[in-house]
Amino acid sequence: MAYKDEQLHEEKVFKDPVHRYVHVRDRVIWDLIATPEFQRLRRIKQLGTTYLTFHGAEHSRFNHSLGVYEIVRRILFNFEDRPNWDESERLLSLCAALLHDLGHGPFSHSFEKIFNLDHEAFTQKIITGDTYVNRILERVEPGFSQKVADVIAKTYENKLVVSLISSQIDADRMDYLQRDAYYTGVSYGHFDMERILRVMRPTDDQVVIKQSGMHAVEDYIMSRYQMYWQVYFHPVTRSAEVILTKILHRAKDLYKEGYAFRLEPQHFITFFEEKVALEDYLRLDESIVYYYFQLWQEEEDAILSDLCERFMNRRLFKYVEFNPLLQIQEWMELHGLFQKAGIDPVYYLEVDSSSDLPYDFYRPGEEGERLPIHLLLPGGELKELSRNSDIVEAISGKRRTDHKLYFPADTLAACTDDEIKHRIYEILYGQGGKTHAE
């Protein structure tokens, strides 16, 4: 029997708190899960620094990837024998679902920002490069790894396959919303996925939703909206993310200046130099990052050691609301005041905006800038979701955006120059700010 058709003698199952069980029957999927590149995902948290706000959020990219695979498996079970679905695309869809996040590194968002990386590019490299994953995919058929990479890059010719893992109602989002809600313990993020899977229909280039399933999709859109503001964009998580980014920034600056680290940061050197090879990328996981952060607390550089101590012991920055239009002059003044107070504003003052986050809302795509969710009407006509749903129309209208200013309140409190401190408090907290801060 050809490798691509090989089935395990007995179905394997992973116990999963979100989907109850993840079922594996294909030999190829089982072999992919066993590769070092996929196992590495166990050591990368799905939600990065969110565990510092919601202590349960310790789940990994490994859990999530299995979850996405399982959802696609269930969708395809429902698609069997339906028009527009080509069963020969089944294994490709499952492999792409399983491997879609393979290139994520530790704390991806901060690492990408500071070291100019792109986790999607690394996903492509892992799948098509000299790796265990690639060897398994090429055993399926020559060129199969490129097809998997194309599906994940959204450039594969069959758009229906792409839309299973990359659209506005895809297996990726359906898994992470439920999984993140489960592990954070919040009551948002829940929706009737089984119902959505039952009303999904394949068309020639996208998955659409039978009109009768509209209310289940409304629930999904609401969950997405609430999770954005309650979990993903939580200001405390953002504070931890700001400190993490500052640590990486400081360590990189020190390296460039020729600073002598107590222990040579071998794992980081190609990151500092922005010449990261695939093997360097693959050997860096969160356990390594924590190891260095632990060591860097003992460094002579006061900024690096302080930032690491803050991150490791959750001594985070405080925040105030910030209006970039009205407060831009005050921001510049704050910079000067921080310098006078002996606090380096480059590492201790930051404005974080909603656009700095890698999460999104539902977009009706009115001008074709993005493919929306389409409802399949009884006559076969397609209609964009927000045109039928008042709820979706309401939350996809005018957006709420947000900017926050982060700073180390404890360091400011210890400032001995009362005049400078008073003026900083006035800017941060408004008139009478000193009283407010105290």
Partner: protein, 172 residues
């Protein structure tokens, strides 16, 4: 801090008006491909390169009244037009952005349709491939647009012109 916002406001100060969200997306992507320092991350979507980060940032600029968004009824669809405000001009003046002059690029891009810019940005997205592979990829990922050989040839000329334009402004 807010440098990425300021760069976008600067773009609107150069462009004056931008007609349509799709056009805006493609213009910023093509400028980025011409080495202009816009930081927004793009991914390939159904209609070509698209940046959610750019969409969100533009919404933030609208909410701050640094730019305005006007919805225009075009009959069978709505188009969103963008324009810088006096507050936006004041805002960007406070930053030392050190941006190259891209006014010629913007002028060239403004004159083209969003369909054409969709083609150009898609071709730019696959710029690591050989020319014939890029053309094959365009037909694979955009079968419904049915781009003709003439349009693709025009797009290559346009890309060459933009790159030459960059060389001119870098020298000046």
């Amino acid at each position: 801090m807010l440098n990425n916002h300021a760069r976008l406001v600067h773009f609107f100060s150069v462009a004056k008006q931008v007609g349509g969200r799709k056009k805006l997306q493609k213009m910023i992507y093509i400028l980025q491909k011409c080495q202009m320092p816009f930081a927004e991350k793009f991914e390939f979507h159904f209609y070509g390169p698209y940046s959610e980060e750019l969409t969100l940032r533009v919404e933030e600029l609208c909410n701050l009244h640094l730019i305005t968004e006007n919805k225009e009824d075009k009959g069978n669809y709505f188009r969103y037009n963008y324009e810088i405000t006096p507050e936006g001009i004041g805002f960007v003046e406070q930053f030392d952005l050190d941006m190259p002059d891209f006014s010629q690029h913007v002028e060239l891009l403004q004159a083209k349709s969003s369909r054409f810019l969709e083609l150009v940005s898609t071709m730019c997205y696959f710029d690591t491939l050989a020319r014939h592979e890029v053309e094959a990829k365009v037909h694979t990922v955009k079968p419904k647009q049915k781009y003709t050989d003439e349009e693709i040839a025009e797009a290559w000329d346009f890309i060459d012109m933009l790159q030459k334009g960059l060389a001119v402004s870098a020298q000046s």
